[in-house]
Point group: C2
Chain length 439, copies 2
């Protein structure tokens, strides 16, 4: 008799596999960290360490937040609706100057709680003190691709750039072979990183076969600045430095012309779309439908808590679907399935993690969420993909399993002490208020 | 000793009154259907029939959904991402042809459940069988401005147009003096109503001092059609019919030029913005910041369940704030307070209901919601307005009081049998599937 560690029953399986199989009244079996079986029934006799009744809900791969600065969850609502430079100079910079490792650890734990509670099982982070980010993610049970931000200025974490490269290399070694955490090389952006920094980061990424992740063509101001400094568009600038390649993940990718999109596709560059942040900061609308049309792998992210201000990937999907329809004045653009793929299998591909997550397939890691559809706003249900993108919210997620571990059961977090984290977050917010009023 | 029927304590009061007073650790007292007192403390001794502890959360006026077709909640997710004519001809029309009074009653109850659960206390409806809509709203305890849709075709409810006017007049009489329900005159749109219909509807509205509500300048196709038929823009056409005036509520109002906006302001025409519907159907972006700038009263609505597909006004606010920022490429456009006003006091003004709802003021009807902020995605809180627009979701509403009646307590509906409604909705969905497959 087969023994599974966990069996989920009585739900519609949305596999997001290459055939996009949907299995009604299906079951999914987990052994250790992996999916051992899924289908309409479980063959033969079996025993199960734990059984979860999905109660007719939806069972799907956990969502993937392709770009965030998790600890900025401590800044959400601190300052909104302001011109960019006022926002940066009066709020973000004074705060970031004062942050320390414990601040980042607390902020990331808070974000991890929010992410698990809204159905995210994997996130990609770029910020300071990333060892603390990795620790907080690992402790919460979340899958995470983390990278310390590198730029031309001294860092409150590592100090000078030389130490920044050493720190990144140390992170790569420290977290090598961790089942949940992997490390990327993450220069901040073209306007904050000189060419030598970018080339050295690129070399480090290639040597360790790690992704290189950077903010890219996010604002018109950035494009203008790069043109002024180098006489080139951001993509031309990267190309001239010999950096284009499939290890590159471009966050935002808003201001690009059609031929640049073709060039990105040729080089296998992956993109993370951040619609809410791009809207809230007035950055612009990334040409995502064209990118997908050209075969570029596109994931979706929330960006940080100060420019969104939530980490709910369900509403991020809703926004993405609707934003591109109205821009194109065409309701057929960015259909629900395409958008859900961005948050699951395409998001996993964008981060280079599709061998382990992003779909429900035998042998893949068990990263799974269950949606409770027994609610008026999800009743009746004609099309699960439509409901997930246009009607569901993060708070409809009832269970979350990551790498085979049950991290949320009936909306109760099992890996994090929510009360304790929120109490510490409120303490940190007192520091933030102080830093902002006495910059 | 004063006796109140209900006292809410221990929360931050966001009054949305003319001074936009925010009262921390405030109390609010209800007597009968009205707000009897609100402030930092309750003077003198008092007794209370019921006391609610807001647990440090936010206490604010209930949200106002300025435009919806509530019963279409039964169609959400039925068909998305389709060209308009395919959506209408293959899905919406076959279904609407078959609907009856019981269908509308069930669909409206479902929508009322969703609305209460997401913080809406008042909605404006336009659809068929509006007496059933009014009954369902009244039974659920929701405040509602309802109106039977009038157009050039026979209606599955009233039959010919003559009967439609009689039905509207009957509705006005039937619901006169009802504490929750009021009736509007609602011709569908300029392209579905001939000039005579519009003028007669207008006269009916003026005679009974009721608002006249219509879909207005929603799509470019509509504008082209009106130009083709009458050689005028939609506003010029209404003007030529002598219909412009402060009794007019224009839903959508997407395709208008600056001088038309000035003219609308001069005539005191009110507008309901429906950003998610306009985005999802690819209709366009209404020039809302300019309208507000010109002094036009603008509310916000979700539109029907088939073109959104949710009735969560929190995400509608989020979408509105972000949409106009990215269109203007300016993060200062449509700040959080402006947007929250659209869903509260300005929404009440737009519907002509600001004498009774939309703000927390002594003497006004007690339409109040409480937000549970003790959650990671709302922690810490620097600015309640920012959190309500950019971070909160309908499911964060813990309590709802309408016209002095507690309709939701700790997320439990007190006026509706949710299980029974969802069961009936699923039965109706079976009919819908049948109608669509055999149109």
């Amino acid at each position: 008799m087969t023994t599974f560690d966990l069996v989920i029953q009585n739900g519609t399986l949305l596999t997001m596999d290459p055939e996009n199989r949907v299995i009604e009244n299906g079951s999914l079996c987990v052994s250790g960290d992996s999916i051992a079986h899924l289908g309409a029934h479980i063959p033969g006799g079996y025993k199960s360490g734990k059984t979860i009744d999905a109660k007719g809900g939806l069972i799907l791969p956990g969502l993937i937040n392709g770009h965030t600065h998790a600890a900025m969850s401590l800044f959400k609502g601190l300052a909104d609706d302001l011109p960019l430079m006022e926002w940066l100079n009066h709020y973000i910079f004074p705060v970031e100057k004062n942050m320390d490792a414990d601040f980042i650890y607390t902020g990331t734990q808070l974000a991890c709680a929010e992410m698990i509670l809204s159905g995210t099982t994997c996130f990609c982070d770029m910020y300071l003190f990333e060892d603390q980010v990795a620790q907080a993610a690992f402790q919460s049970g979340l899958r995470c691709l983390a990278g310390e931000v590198l730029y031309d200025f001294p860092s409150p974490n590592y100090g000078d750039l030389e130490s920044g490269f050493a720190y990144t290399q140390w992170l790569i070694e420290k977290w090598r072979d961790n089942p949940l955490i992997s490390i990327a090389v993450e220069p901040h952006a073209l306007f904050t990183c000189n060419p030598e920094l970018l080339q050295r980061a690129n070399q480090l990424a290639l040597t360790h076969e790690r992704p290189m992740i950077l903010h890219f063509a996010e604002t018109l101001a950035e494009v203008e600045e790069i043109k002024k400094r180098y006489g080139k568009t951001p993509l031309e600038h990267l190309d001239s430095l010999g950096i284009l390649g499939p290890h590159l993940i471009a966050d935002h990718a808003v201001h690009l012309n059609p031929s640049e999109i073709d060039q990105m596709a040729e080089h296998g560059i992956r993109v993370i779309h951040n619609p809410e942040s791009n809207m809230k900061l007035g950055s612009g609308i990334a040409p995502i439908p064209r990118m997908i049309d050209r075969g570029i792998t596109v994931g979706i992210g929330t960006d940080g808590g100060a420019s969104n201000n939530n980490m709910d990937l369900f509403t991020e999907m809703d926004m993405a679907a609707k934003l591109h329809k109205v821009q194109a004045m065409d309701p057929t653009v960015m259909d629900a399935l395409t958008v859900l793929k961005m948050a699951t299998i395409e998001g996993a591909r964008a981060l280079g993690l599709s061998h382990e997550t992003g779909s429900l397939e035998t042998g893949k890691k068990a990263d799974i969420i269950i949606i409770d559809t027994h609610k008026p706003h999800l009743t009746p249900m004609y099309n699960p993909f439509s409901h997930l993108v246009y009607a569901a919210r993060g708070q409809d997620v009832s269970h979350s399993i990551i790498n085979g571990q049950l991290v949320m059961e009936n909306r109760q977090l099992l890996t994090l002490d929510l009360e304790e984290i929120m109490a510490r977050a409120m303490e940190k917010a007192k520091d933030v208020r102080k830093w902002v009023s006495n910059p």
